[in-house]
């Protein structure tokens, strides 16, 4: 059976060219870049080249890129880093209720350390209202963190407006751009961000590597303490093959991004309208236009998302109900609940996320099997029977 992978938001396959670029750094060029002899200097040179590629992808300067172990570390670092370095200036943090858990859980931790956190609501499309930021912000606000695009429903936030308001109030602005970097244009100056998190394995790079963009002049306490790596900002022997892989992935996605976004938008729209038209009692989650080119998230009433997933899996189609990071937990998505989606509908959510390997034929296949699966499940559903 041909398998169809439609869970690119969980992780993407590592691009073959990325793997090829990494391989020499596993064995022959294995040096520790912090050492001063030639083995180390070869690794150092490669790390700096990768830094340039990553910086170019988001319009940053090389020295503003700090490599981390992934998006989660970048988010933890950004929030803790600003909070602990600026305690003399305030103790307030603003974020949104639909952030990734890496941001939300870090905020919860900071609450235990005496910081106050305002969690902004979102509208039915998952949008944060910039006016809400304006109302919540105070002179004691240290940082505002709003994600660039939501990993579950794909909604793209109005960052330019939010960052403007944030800066007027003298606070730093952080965005979790794990879902957007490499997928849609991201320019740190245009967006007006001071800190931006990204992760390699969401853009055809390897797992275990990410970066935090740190605008020059940002007061940030380091997160991993130890050696002098990354100019003293992130201790730990550099993951050289990982960094090389991220650099290569940045280079590839930068070249392909525009065409790929256009292509995927077409396929995405076909899948959305196909589902909504062929299955009744379904609704689109997230914003109709302000959404990631590769994200489809629908609620299918009267069925459990998990049951649909299992049936799709039997057909060789792989999708998800939401974030992979919490898929073991079987709780209704905090993102969908925040958009006002009733819990039963939230449990019937289904996310398809597409990527480089996705073809129109694959989407046709989904549209061919999904209505039958839903009809079968609904026939057995107590939810539907109760409805009378």
């Amino acid at each position: 059976m041909r398998r169809i992978y439609l869970d690119y938001a969980a992780t993407t396959p590592t691009h073959p060219d990325v793997v090829a670029a990494m391989l020499p750094y596993f064995t022959e060029n294995f040096g520790n870049p912090s050492t001063i002899y030639s083995y180390g200097q070869e690794a150092r040179g490669a790390v700096e080249e990768a830094r340039t590629s990553v910086a170019a992808l988001i319009g940053a300067a090389d020295e503003e890129i700090c490599f981390t172990s992934g998006g989660t570390e970048s988010d933890n670092y950004a929030l803790c880093g600003v909070a602990f370095a600026n305690e003399d200036r305030g103790n307030h943090i603003i974020t949104s209720v639909i952030e990734h858990h890496a941001v939300l859980e870090t905020c919860k931790f900071l609450e235990t350390r005496g910081f106050g956190v305002t969690y902004l609501p979102v509208d039915k499309y998952g949008l944060v209202d910039p006016d809400d930021v304006r109302k919540a912000i105070t002179p004691r606000t240290l940082i505002v963190s709003v994600m660039h695009a939501n990993n579950e429903v794909g909604t793209i936030q109005p960052l330019e407006e939010i960052s403007k308001i944030t800066h007027e109030a003298g606070a730093y602005f952080h965005t979790d751009a794990v879902q957007t970097v490499g997928h849609i244009p991201v320019d740190v100056d245009k967006l007006g961000v001071d800190l931006l998190s990204m992760s390699a394995h969401k853009l055809y790079g390897p797992k275990g590597i990410g970066a935090l963009y740190i605008r020059k002049g940002t007061r940030l306490a380091s997160f991993l303490h130890g050696g002098e790596q990354e100019k003293g900002r992130r201790a730990g022997t550099e993951n050289v093959p990982g960094i090389i892989g991220l650099g290569k992935a940045a280079e590839i996605t930068r070249a392909e991004l525009e065409c790929e976004a256009l292509r995927l938008t077409g396929i995405r729209n076909k899948l959305i309208s196909g589902i909504l038209e062929s299955i009744d009692n379904t609704s689109l989650n997230g914003h109709p236009d302000r959404r990631l080119p590769n994200n489809v998230n629908v609620s299918i009433n009267f069925v459990e998302g998990e049951s649909i997933l299992l049936n799709l899996d039997l057909e060789g189609i792989c999708a998800s109900t939401g974030s992979a990071c919490s898929s073991g937990s079987l709780e209704a998505s905090h993102v969908l609940l925040a958009t006002g989606c009733p819990p039963p509908l939230a449990r019937g959510s289904l996310r398809f996320t597409m990527g480089r390997g996705t073809t129109e034929q694959e989407v046709d296949r989904v549209l061919a099997v999904l209505p039958g699966i839903v009809a079968r499940l609904r026939a057995m559903s107590p939810l539907l029977k109760n409805r009378g």
Partner: protein
């Protein structure tokens, strides 16, 4: 040109077998292990297998292993996470003076958060006295962290004896075993510790891989908050290829440990014996016997270690002056100063760390090339001129 790599403490090359084991996870088995569909299954099974192998290397249980991104993260996690997990008990932490910076700087961060930190000194060999640890412990002590062995001077610490004290007082004891796990036998039960850090890049596994072992029942706060990976103890999509590589490296290290030790120890002993014999005013640092099998560390008087490194590098020999993590800082090593060595002597530090690829010919090459280099440097050294003039020594 001959190239001799003698800086295996900085990082080790990846073994071909480890690379082979990792490759499928950079290719077809790319799934996110948290995904419920079968793309996730292959990755999840690989994680379980790697976890069992890493646990096997140190005598722990698989569910006690938390994968991290490196030794530094493991140490940050252990020191901050264990210290902050017992707010009711107190805010005092005991560490040794020669810990790796990832432990010492984490302790310094704890100080900013209202903790007090006691640094236990070491003797001239770099040994921590268990009695001194006992003396430093207070009723509000929530953590003791003493490394298993020091990577710069090779000294192996009396961790078992220290654990006897902490166990009696019911204080969590963490050991940084980055320099020992995969290199010499490490058994968490025998050592009696509560938490232990290790890193893959130290034993022919990949960079970007590490683990923290935490004994079942010991409370720890998370460092990386986020998803529910690693049993909710460490957020972040698992670095599957690196974890698989760490597992493979652990398996190989366990199987080949005796042979590796037998290979390295005589080569190390030869360096320790013959280098001071062929160059005047060379001090062996670290313990004469209780030291890592691949570690030969020295201070060469009247020269700058960095100049020595550069000249050795020009002869194709890669060594270091201490920890790679601080090599750019150009400060005298805190470890050497803690041994009681002067700044001037500590500046002349040179560290050889031998590995699987080290052969007798490499040691020959060092013994042949280093004395003339040291001579040349001393000819240019005002310190040496002053010393020979004063007639206190010299040839």
């Amino acid at each position: 040109m001959t190239r001799v790599y003698l800086d295996n403490a900085a990082t080790t090359p990846l073994l071909p077998e480890v690379r082979e084991a990792m490759l499928p996870y950079l290719g077809e088995i790319f799934g996110n292990p948290s995904s419920l569909h079968d793309w996730g299954d292959g990755a999840r099974e690989a994680l379980d297998e790697a976890r069992a192998r890493v646990a096997g290397l140190i005598g722990g249980s698989p569910e006690e292993i938390i994968f991290t991104s490196c030794g530094t993260e493991s140490n940050n996690f252990a020191v901050k996470g264990l210290a902050m997990a017992q707010p009711a008990r107190g805010k005092h932490v005991v560490v040794s003076a020669i810990e790796h910076f990832s432990v010492l700087h984490s302790a310094r961060t704890l100080e900013k958060w209202g903790f007090q930190v006691s640094e236990v000194p070491v003797d001239k060999y770099g040994l921590v006295d268990p009695a001194a640890v006992k003396k430093a412990i207070r009723p509000d002590t929530v953590l003791v962290s003493v490394m298993h062995a020091n990577g710069e001077i090779g000294t192996i610490e009396p961790v078992k004896e220290i654990a006897r004290i902490t166990r009696e007082l019911k204080i969590p004891f963490h050991t940084d075993a980055v320099a020992t796990a995969g290199t010499i036998p490490v058994d968490v039960k025998e050592l009696g510790v509560d938490a232990l850090s290790l890193a893959g890049s130290q034993f022919y596994g990949p960079k970007g891989s590490g683990a923290l072992w935490v004994k079942k029942g010991v409370r720890i706060m998370t460092l990386l908050d986020g998803g529910i990976q690693e049993g909710g103890r460490r957020g972040g999509t698992e670095n599957v290829p690196a974890i698989v590589g760490l597992g493979k490296a652990a398996e190989l290290a366990a199987a080949r440990m005796d042979a590796r030790i037998k290979q390295l120890t005589p080569l190390r002993d030869r360096l320790i014996r013959e280098l001071p014999a062929s160059i005047d005013h060379v001090i062996v640092t670290g313990h004469p016997r209780d030291r890592l099998p691949g570690n030969a560390s020295f201070c060469v008087e009247f020269i700058e270690g960095e100049s020595l490194l550069m000249l050795l590098n020009s002869r194709g020999i890669a060594v270091s002056s201490g920890s790679a993590c601080t090599s750019r800082a150009l400060k005298a090593s805190h470890v050497l100063l803690a041994l009681g060595l002067s700044h001037a002597i500590a500046q002349g530090s040179v560290l050889f760390t031998l590995g699987l690829e080290t052969a007798a010919a490499d040691i020959d090459y060092v013994l042949e090339n280093m004395p003339p280099i040291v001579d040349r440097l001393r000819q240019m050294s005002p310190l040496y001129a002053k010393f020979t003039k004063s007639g206190k020594g010299g040839k």
